[in-house]
Structure formats: C-alpha cells, structure tokens
C-alpha cells in the first residue's frame, strides 16, 4: 500500500509540474499575442481615424487653394462664405512671409507664423517643396477657448498657403460621416473590436454592430473611465499606450485607449481570443498527460506488484528447493560409508563437502574379502542433483563389481563398459581405487583420470605424488582396459586421496590452491589419517577465506598399520606350545573384559585347533592372533600355520548318535569348535592356513555362565 501511495504521489507531482509549466508557457504566449494584436489594433485604429481627418482637411484646403487661385487679400465676408461652403471652422490666407492676410476670423488677421513656436512649422509651405502640412489638435494660439486641428496647403510656386482649421467640438459631428461607421464592422484579430465615444457625454460614435443595441454610451458597454482614464493617452507615433483590462459587454477584454480630439478610442481584444486557445490546449494536453502519467503509474504499480509476487514466489520456491536439496543431501550422505574406519590393519578417514547441497564427489571403502580392503575417491562431471544421482549409481556399480572380481583393474574395465552402455546423460567420472592386502601391506591401485594421490612414507619428510600413467576417465570411452600398479606399504605409511575440489579451491583473488600447497599441507600434517584429512581441509578453508567453493571437495586418507602391532605370537609346533599359546590368549582375553563363558569356550576351541595343528599339520610353526571386535562385541581369534593345506570345516561331522562302542575316538574336536564358536572361517593364503574363530560376547556375563565352577 505504501508503495502504491508513493507511486501515485510521484505521478501526481510530475503531472502537476508539467501542467503548470505548460500553463505558464501558454499564458505567456497568449499575453504576447494579445499585446502584439493590441499594438496592431490601436495603430490601425488611430491611423485610420487621423488619416481620414487629414485627408478630409487636405481636400478642403486644396479646394480653397484652387478657388482663391493666388495669394490675395479677401474680405472677411467672402472668407466666411468660403468657410461655410467648405464646412470648415477657420480659413486663412497666409503670404510668403507667414502673415495672415485674410481670414474668416478677424482675430487672426495680421498674425505672423514665422518664428512662432507652434506655427512656424507651416513655413515649410513657402519654399515650394511641401504641398501640405498637418498638425494635431491644439489650442488656438489666439483663442484659448478654441481647440482645433490645422492643415495648410501651398499655392503653386510656394507663394503662400491656405490654412484651414477644424474645431475640435465639430469633430463629433463629422466623425460618423468621416468614419461612416466603418469601425462598427471592423475587427482586429478574430474578435477584437473598436469603441469610439465622446469624452464628455460618453455617447458612442462607433460601436461594434453585433453589440449596437446593447449600449448607447461608453459606460453602458461596461467601460469604467474612472479606472481606465489613466491609460487613455494622446498617441504621438512612438508609444501605443499600455494594456489594461475592462469588462466590456460582459466579457473580459484587454484594451488600449487613446484620445483624439474630444473623443476616446478604445481597441478591445476579448480575453478568449488567445487565452481560450491556451485553455483548450491545457485541457486537451492535461487530459492526455493525465492518461499517460497515471496510466504509467498504474502499470508501474502493477509491475511492482508482480515483481514482489515473483520475489515471494521465488523465495518460496527456493525454500522448497533447499528442503529438497537438504533431503537429497541426507540421502547422499547416508550412501557414503562412515568417515572413519579403524581396523587392526589400517585406518581410513574421509570427508566429502559438496559445493552445493549435493555433489558429484564420493568416496568409498569396503572389504573386498577377509584380507583385502578397497578404498576409492571419485569425481563425477558436473554438480548438483544429476551428478549426485549418477554418483550413486556409479558408486554401487563399482563396489558390486570390485567385490565380485577383486582385481581393481579388471573391476574398472568392467565398470567402464557397464557405465558406457548406459550413459544417456553423457556423464563421466574420474576415480582412483586402491585395494590393500591387509596382511602383506601390498596396495594394488588403478587410476581412471583422477588427481594423483599423495604417498606419505612413515619416515619421509615430504609426501610424493603417485603419478603413474593414468587410465581414461570412466564412462568416457567404451572398451578401455585399465592397468593396475602395486606398491608395498610399510607400517605408518599413509596414502592421501583427494578430488580437484582441493587443488582447484580458489581464494578471493581466484588463485588456485594447487598441488604445491596440498603437498605442503600434507607434509606439515600430523601423521595419522584423521589429522591429515582435517589439516588439509583446514588449509583449504583458510586459503579460500570465505570465497564460496566452486567444486565438491573430498579427502580420504588410508594409514597402513603393520601386523606386528597386534597380539600375534609365534609358536613352535609342539605340545608344550599349546599351553604357552593358551596362556598368551588368556592374558589377552583378560585385557579385553571377556566374559568367563567366552573365555572357557575360547580355551576349548584353542585346545582343539592347536592340538590338530601340532599333531597333523607338519607346520614349522604357528601363530595366534587375538582381536576384539566392537560391533557385535566379541573376540576374533585367528590361527595361522604354515603346514599342509587343511580346511577343518570341509570335514563331515562325526555321527554323534552312535553308541559308545561304535563311536570313533577322534573327530570330535572340530565339531566342538564349530558348535562352540559363533563363526568359523578358513582360508589359505601365502601358503598358510588361516582359521578364524569368532565368539560373540552376547548377553553380559552371568546368565549363560551360571554353571561355571560347579
């Protein structure tokens, strides 16, 4: 709502500003046009009136000149008759010297014009170059009660001239005749009109024809002389008066007025002449502008509304996606094995940090069989859901195949074929897999286009990159055969795997973390799998310094522990060794908080197996390992001998239903082992027999061991 008010307030402001400006410009233009039109009107009016009077007087004077013929004295009687004939108030004959030698007015006789401040102008007629001289109305030089307009016309040759004078008071009578009401019809501009009235009586002489019946006097037109008289001036050819306003015939008019004789002349231009067009323009323009600006405001408002709804929509979508991704992340995390795996033979520590909620990186570690552990890291092309889904598939496939065929090179060759056959999304992955023989410490590994891992030898200062020739990326090209390499690990050696999320991590200046920094971080890290992973991740985070990760980041460290660290004891193949081995195992079991029931069972089992080895195996010696397991809680005892291959589990169990007489004395030992242990397994490797027995601690000591000691 606030936004809407703001938008419309702004629109209103702009609208008002533009409209005001347009109005101002329109007003100025209207005023200028009005002034200009009034100038024109008043000049036209004045010149027409004055011109008509001059023309008339000129005719009269020239008629007189023709009748009188030459400068000669004439009687007053004749002059009076002449004046009457000419319908003029004064007529004089003036000689070359400017002296009036004949006049109808006795007062004028003998007046000399030459040198007179007012009359000297007429002397121009005596030099033969000027035909007529006209003067405006003025007070007579000899008779102050008489105001008249004078005009002189020269006799041929400049011998002298005739001067005629028109009494101002007679102008009123003459004007209608002279003007012939022409001004009644005259307009200036489209609507400008003229008024002419007697100053004293206010009676109108000229009145626009369309208003003739409305007013007989100036006052009746609405003209207020008390106010307007200050603007009424006598025109002198330089100034045209000042504009003033009057309400004439009920309409506001701009006026100029001038006095001529005893008459006032008004040129009036109704306001509508020009101001109407301004108003019309303002209305039309204002309406259009209103539509444009408020239309724009309306759409802007709608647009803002839409954009906010979009924002809300996207926020909700984002939240929903984030939730989906977080679920996906949970699923993906659950698909990865534990970040830590501690076994008597090795320790694995791993971590995967996706750049997005879900990533294309993964690590895995799983037993291939009893003595081999596989561990790998891989990086699927791309990130996000697609990569994550592909990764899940690839991870399952690799594990499945590797557990079947055990050989990493063969496993990659087969996995590649499988992935290529089903690669609609054209994705691929780089992977590095190692298979550790826990007993020998030999690691067999294959690289499918992945970053070279670091090998950190127990005693060495610096790690080295394992840069053997790499195979092609998986799922990239069908029919690729992979080659494996192998390496002997010694106790304390660490193999450090990572993805390019480590080496290609960028800092704020977009520099890469790189292999050198990685090697340095690994070299400085404490020599345990977990500490190394933690240290590298910490270094990368430090380096990135808040820059968002561009790629998933995965690390995995495998630390090999030598078998010597375990409870292994070597014995000679003789009867006495059984007691020694038994004592050794008992000691170990005591350390492991082993229930009595289990101790007893292990004691019997040990006796059975070792007596078999001593008696039958032809071994040169044997070993016994004791390992405690956590889940399920129990103990694993491994019997190792280098005697003849012998799998006690392959034997048929003796028939325990036979009577004492028919029962063979032997063969019961293995049966007892099988019955008393929870799991027994046999394998033959490296020319040795491995018999592994597992006994579950089960329920706490007590319930199962009730009969002990009776």
């Amino acid at each position: 709502m606030k936004r809407r008010i703001a938008i419309f307030a702004a629109a209103l402001g702009i609208y008002a500003a533009i409209l005001t400006a347009v109005w101002e410009i329109g007003t100025r233009q209207a005023r200028e046009k009005t002034e200009w039109q009034l100038d024109y009107g008043v000049i036209d009016f004045h010149d027409t009136v004055a011109g008509a009077i001059d023309t008339m007087l000129g005719h009269v004077a020239r008629i007189a000149v023709r009748h009188i013929d030459h400068v000669q004295p004439m009687t007053m009687k004749r002059m009076s008759e002449g004046a009457k004939a000419l319908d003029i108030d004064e007529v004089n004959i003036v000689n070359r010297n400017g002296e009036i030698i004949a006049s109808n007015d006795p007062l004028c006789l003998g007046t000399v014009m030459a040198g007179d401040p007012v009359m000297d102008a007429f002397m121009a007629l005596t030099n033969g170059t000027v035909a007529t001289v006209s003067q405006p109305f003025r007070t007579s030089a000899r008779n102050p009660g008489f105001r008249a307009k004078y005009l002189g016309a020269a006799f041929p040759g400049g011998d002298g001239f005739v001067q005629v004078g028109l009494d101002e008071r007679r102008l009123a009578k003459m004007l209608p005749a002279v003007l012939g009401y022409i001004f009644d019809e005259w307009l200036f501009g489209k609507t400008g009109f003229y008024l002419c009235a007697d100053v004293k009586t206010g009676r109108l002489i000229s009145n626009p024809s369309r208003h003739r019946n409305e007013a007989a006097t100036l006052e009746e037109t609405g003209y207020d002389r008390s106010e307007a008289s200050q603007y009424e001036i006598v025109l002198n050819g330089k100034e045209y008066g000042e504009t003033f306003t009057q309400t004439l015939f009920g309409e506001k008019c701009y006026c100029r007025a001038f006095l001529y004789g005893e008459h006032v002349f008004v040129a009036a231009l109704p306001e509508r002449e020009y101001y109407d067009s301004r108003n019309e323009f303002a209305v039309v323009f204002g309406a259009s502008l209103f539509v444009v600006i408020f239309g724009f405001a309306f759409f802007a408002d709608r647009l803002f509304g839409y954009s906010q709804r979009l924002k809300r929509f996207y926020a909700a979508e984002e939240a929903r996606l984030a939730k989906d991704f977080s679920i996906a992340k949970t699923i993906q995390s659950a698909a990865l094995p534990a970040g830590e795996c501690d076994s008597p033979y090795f320790m694995i520590s791993a971590a995967m940090a996706p750049a997005r909620e879900v990533g294309g990186d993964f690590y895995d570690h799983f037993p291939v069989d009893d003595t081999h552990e596989a561990f790998l890291v891989a990086d699927v092309s791309g990130k996000g859901i697609t990569a994550a889904l592909y990764m899940m598939n690839a991870k399952t496939l690799i594990k499945e195949i590797l557990q079947k065929c055990r050989d990493p090179a063969e496993a990659f060759t087969r996995a590649n074929a499988e992935l290529c056959a089903n690669n609609k999304a054209n994705m691929f992955l780089t992977a590095w897999v190692g298979v550790l023989d826990m007993e020998t410490g030999v690691m067999t590994y294959v690289n499918a286009g992945h970053n070279p891992p670091l090998l950190v030898r127990a005693g060495a200062d610096k790690p080295e990159f394992m840069r053997e020739k790499s195979g092609c990326m998986l799922s990239f090209m069908d029919g690729v055969k992979y080659k494996s390499y192998s390496l002997q690990l010694a106790s304390g050696d660490i193999v450090f795997l990572y993805t390019d999320g480590v080496t290609e991590a960028q800092d704020v200046q977009e520099r890469f973390f790189g292999e050198d920094r990685l090697a340095a971080a690994v070299a400085e890290a404490p020599r345990t799998a977990r500490a190394m992973c933690d240290a590298v991740r910490a270094r990368v985070a430090e380096f990135a310094d808040g820059a968002p990760p561009a790629d998933d980041l995965t690390v995995l460290a495998l630390e090999f522990k030598a078998a010597a660290e375990y409870s292994v004891c070597s014995f000679a193949p003789e009867q006495a060794s059984i007691a020694k081995a038994s004592a050794f195992v008992e000691e170990k079991l005591a350390e492991g908080e082993c229930p009595q029931r289990v101790k007893t069972a292990i004691g019997i089992i040990l006796d059975e197996i070792l007596s078999n080895i001593v008696r039958h195996s032809k071994a040169s010696g044997f070993e016994v390992d004791v390992e405690f397991t956590v889940s399920p809680r129990g103990v694993k005892v491994v019997f190792i001998d280098d005697g003849e291959p012998y799998d006690p589990l392959s034997h048929k169990d003796p028939d325990t239903t036979l009577s004492a007489a028919d029962r063979p004395i032997g063969g019961l030992g293995i049966l007892m082992v099988k019955k008393m242990a929870d799991e027994v397994s046999y394998r033959r490797t490296r020319n040795r027999n491995f018999l592994t027995v597992f006994k579950n601690f089960g329920a706490p000591d007590g319930a199962a061991a009730q009969g002990d000691g009776k």
Binding site: Q575, G666, G707
Partner: protein
C-alpha cells in the same frame, strides 16, 4: 590339572580339578589302569572345562568298561563341560549324575 585317585570295592574314582585338555588328558589317561575294573567314576565337580582330548579319554574308558562288563559314571560336570557333552552327543552315551 590335578587328579585325586581312590579305589573302593573295585571301583576307581578319579576327581579331576582344572582343565582337561590336550595337555592334561594324557595324565588322566595314564591314571586309568589296563586291568579290569568293576566300575569307574569321574568326579568332574572341579573340572573347569574339557576339550575333545579329555572327551577322548572318557570315551576310551567307556569302551573299556563296556568290554569288561563294568560301569562308568560321571559326576557333577559344570555347564561348560555339560555343553561339550551335549554338543558331541556324549550325553546319551555317558551316565551323568
């Protein structure tokens, strides 16, 4: 392992304490005379456990007794030993009291 041995009315009683396993079973075997006996009693109340080697001695004694018409009884085996008898089917052969 310790063995207490006594003979009463032609019946040999052997009280076995400790473990009866590969190591110790030859001792027990040595205590059983080759001569005819009317009966033999193994008191296992003190026997911690028994391996198949011990079982073999007992099974041998049982066969001897059957051959010479004597009787054999086993007294008070603990749960572990009884389990061994059960596992191996000897519970049905031996007279266990």
């Amino acid at each position: 392992m310790q063995i207490e041995k006594k003979i009463e009315d032609g019946i040999l009683t052997l009280k076995i304490s400790g473990r009866l396993d590969t190591n110790t079973s030859p001792q027990l075997e040595a205590e059983i005379p080759q001569t005819d006996l009317s009966g033999i009693v193994f008191d296992l109340s003190g026997t911690e456990y028994m391996s198949s080697a011990g079982l073999r001695v007992l099974l041998g004694a049982q066969k001897r007794m059957i051959a010479c018409g004597g009787s054999m009884r086993i007294l008070s085996p603990n749960a572990t030993v009884r389990e061994v008898f059960d596992i191996t089917g000897c519970s049905s052969i031996f007279t266990i009291e």
